[in-house]
């Protein structure tokens, strides 16, 4: 047992922390207020190799591990939740499935630009009528000659408007029991018939791009089918297991930011003749926040470590995602409470943390679905 980060992990942490403080945090308020996607930040992150941390160098990546990646997501998310979400989605949902399931050619063609930071990836699973129940996917892909013809609609897809490639799930047939076969297909965003709209008005993570995708007779070569033609469902379950680690790390980052703001404020704000940090009621809140955040971070590291060591991590990544997002929400809520009326005002930024972190209990499987995932591993 060793709880220490390696030198490389420590260096990644120092570097990303400094980068996030200097380049990401100063834009967070603007990004939230305007909903502008921070394109330049992503260019810089790409140049530094942040978009390719968990992929080998031969695919344009940085050759790091999942723990380093989780550390980077935490630090970016601490500075700006919107940037953190788009970062986590670009790597865990956009690039990862191509790395896990792609052929060598697909990796060279589709993964290299994403991992080396020359473009962003997106993963289109959710549909208006298929959210938690991804088995209910209606988008269809029909093989015509050498091409798949795709028709359907996707919603709430992170980064789609800024993506080079979207991995889209679609029904490609029926198995012997008559159940839909779901496959994943790589769709370059400049393909004819693909329309991307970004008109959502969101509660939080407002600077993260969220788009609706309409596919009308979109034709892609049949070689763009990703991995096992009949295993699309299993593939995205595995992809989401990995993505949950990053959503958990993002929750930890946002909550840590809220905790630090709350501690500083509690020491400065005086009521009844003393700093409110002297009141035990406030101290107990801070103690609970700090404890839960550290427990969540430990679970993130453990799930990441299991993944890095080739061990099963489905249950642990669900633990991490569920606990970190719920504990993080509690922490952000208490941070607003500690700030009183000022906390309700934008200027103090803690209300943004609360709005941003709410998504963590919904995206990549709601809290209810995490409990289902965990329970399935138990009974």
């Amino acid at each position: 047992m060793n709880f220490e980060l390696t030198k490389e992990q420590q260096m990644v942490k120092d570097m990303v922390k400094e980068f996030a403080e200097k380049e990401v945090a100063p834009k967070a308020v603007h990004v939230d207020k305007t909903g502008e996607f921070p394109v330049q930040t992503f260019e810089k992150m790409g140049q530094l190799g942040l978009l390719g941390i968990p992929f080998p160098e031969k695919y344009g990546g940085s050759g790091g591990d999942t723990i380093s990646y989780a550390i980077a997501v935490e630090e970016i998310g601490k500075a700006c939740g919107s940037t953190g979400l788009s970062y986590a989605a670009a790597v865990s949902l956009g690039a990862s499935p191509i790395y896990y399931f792609g052929t060598e050619e697909q990796k060279q063609h589709f993964l290299v630009p994403l991992a080396s930071g020359k473009g962003l990836g997106a993963f289109g699973l959710t549909e208006p009528n298929a959210g938690s129940d991804a088995g209910g996917t209606r988008t269809k892909a029909v093989l015509e000659g050498d091409e798949y013809v795709i028709n359907g609609e996707k919603c709430f897809i992170t980064n789609a408007e800024y993506a080079k490639t979207i991995t889209v799930t679609a029904v490609t047939g029926k198995d012997e029991r008559g159940k839909n076969i779901i496959s994943a297909i790589l769709v370059p965003t400049d393909t004819a018939g693909l329309t991307i709209n970004s008109n959502y008005e969101k509660l939080g993570v407002r600077g993260s791009n969220t788009s609706e995708i309409i596919l009308e007779n979109v034709r892609v070569p049949k070689e763009n089918l990703l991995g096992d033609p009949t295993g699309g469902f299993k593939q995205f379950l595995y992809t989401l297991d990995g993505g949950r680690i990053s959503i958990a790390a993002l929750s930890v980052g946002i909550a840590q930011a809220a905790l630090e703001k709350a501690i500083n404020y509690a020491k400065e704000r005086t009521q009844f003749g003393q700093p409110i940090a002297k009141f035990q009621a406030i101290q107990f809140k801070l103690a609970d926040m700090a404890m839960e955040i550290e427990l969540a971070r430990n679970m993130v590291y453990k799930a990441a470590w299991l993944k890095d060591n080739g061990k099963p991590f489905t249950k642990e990544s669900a633990y991490a995602k569920l606990f970190a997002s719920e504990a993080g929400f509690r922490a952000c809520n208490q941070a607003v409470q500690i700030h009183g009326g000022y906390g309700y005002m934008r200027e103090y930024e803690v209300e943004r943390y609360l709005r941003d972190i709410k998504l963590m209990e919904i995206g990549e499987g709601t809290s209810e679905i995490q409990r289902l995932v965990i329970a399935r591993q138990l009974v």
Binding site: K7, E8, Q10, M11, V12, D14, M15, E18, F19, Q47, L48, G49, L50, G52, I53, E57, S62, G63, G64, S68
Partner: protein
């Protein structure tokens, strides 16, 4: 071009610093590359990229400095050398450090040696010039620009806000001032590659030095924190009265006028 960078691991003066038993408390402190040395590392990398050659980063210190050396390697330096004095020296000063560095550098055929202008902990700014003196090569301190043309070097030196242009030649030692460049972040692939780059560890023995040869020339009598800043005073009342009160306070209390 054979380039050497003198680097120091220091505590981060922007973090909280506490003192116990007459020493700076290392437990709570954050340690970083001395910020002026970051300019030195960046400049060395830029010179190497333009002129070819190799960048070696050296530090005199303890095992703990490996992290800062690895960071320099991750930024793009080619090699690192740690001269570990942990077991040999109880106390050292600028003389000690300069002597050790010069002893290491004397047979290395360095073309260019770059250090920080000062270390933010001790703030003496002596190590660079002392090393140059011992090696018998020219030096220019607090530089904000460096141009190398064959063996001619044109340097802009910051003199308390003004600039001085100096022409000199290689081999040369310079110390970096803020504004020389914008140090890069170590990239992720850089961090991963850093662990495969050579990092040599030497001790005084390896340099044929005895403890007596490098014995400090100075003694630290006391270390203390600056006095706590008092809360400010806001004057009230009519403007004319405020001015009178201000003058009287400056005269009687602050005793500055």
């Amino acid at each position: 071009m054979n380039i050497f960078v003198l680097m120091k691991r220091t505590f981060d003066t922007e973090e909280k610093i506490s003192i116990s038993g007459g020493k700076i408390n290392e437990d709570g402190a954050e340690f970083i590359i001395n910020p002026y040395d970051e300019y030195a590392i960046e400049e060395a990398i830029q010179v190497r990229d333009a002129q070819g050659g190799e960048v070696t980063v050296i530090t005199v210190g303890s095992e703990e400095a490996e992290k800062q050396l690895r960071t320099a390697l991750a930024m793009g330096a080619d090699k690192a050398v740690l001269i570990n004095t942990e077991d040999d020296l109880e106390y050292s000063d600028q003389f000690t450090t300069a002597k050790i560095l010069a002893e290491y550098l004397k047979d290395k055929d360095a073309d260019l040696i770059i250090g920080g202008n000062v270390a933010i902990d001790g703030g003496s700014g002596q190590v660079g010039p002392r090393v140059a003196e011992l090696l018998n090569i020219p030096y220019v301190t607090t530089i904000t620009n460096l141009e190398i043309n064959g063996s001619t070097v044109t340097v802009v030196r910051d003199v308390e806000g003004d600039s001085e242009v100096i022409e000199t030649s290689l081999p040369l030692l310079v110390t970096a001032q803020q504004g020389l460049n914008e140090p890069r972040y170590p990239s992720l692939p850089g961090i991963m590659k850093a662990k495969k780059k050579p990092l040599d560890e030497l001790e005084l023995d390896d340099l044929d030095l005895e403890e007596d040869d490098v014995e400090a020339k100075t003694k630290t009598i006391e270390i203390y924190l600056p006095a706590q800043k008092q809360a400010g005073k806001v004057l009230e009342g009519e403007l004319a009265d405020q001015v009178k009160e201000l003058v009287s306070l400056l005269h009687n209390e602050a005793k500055v006028v």
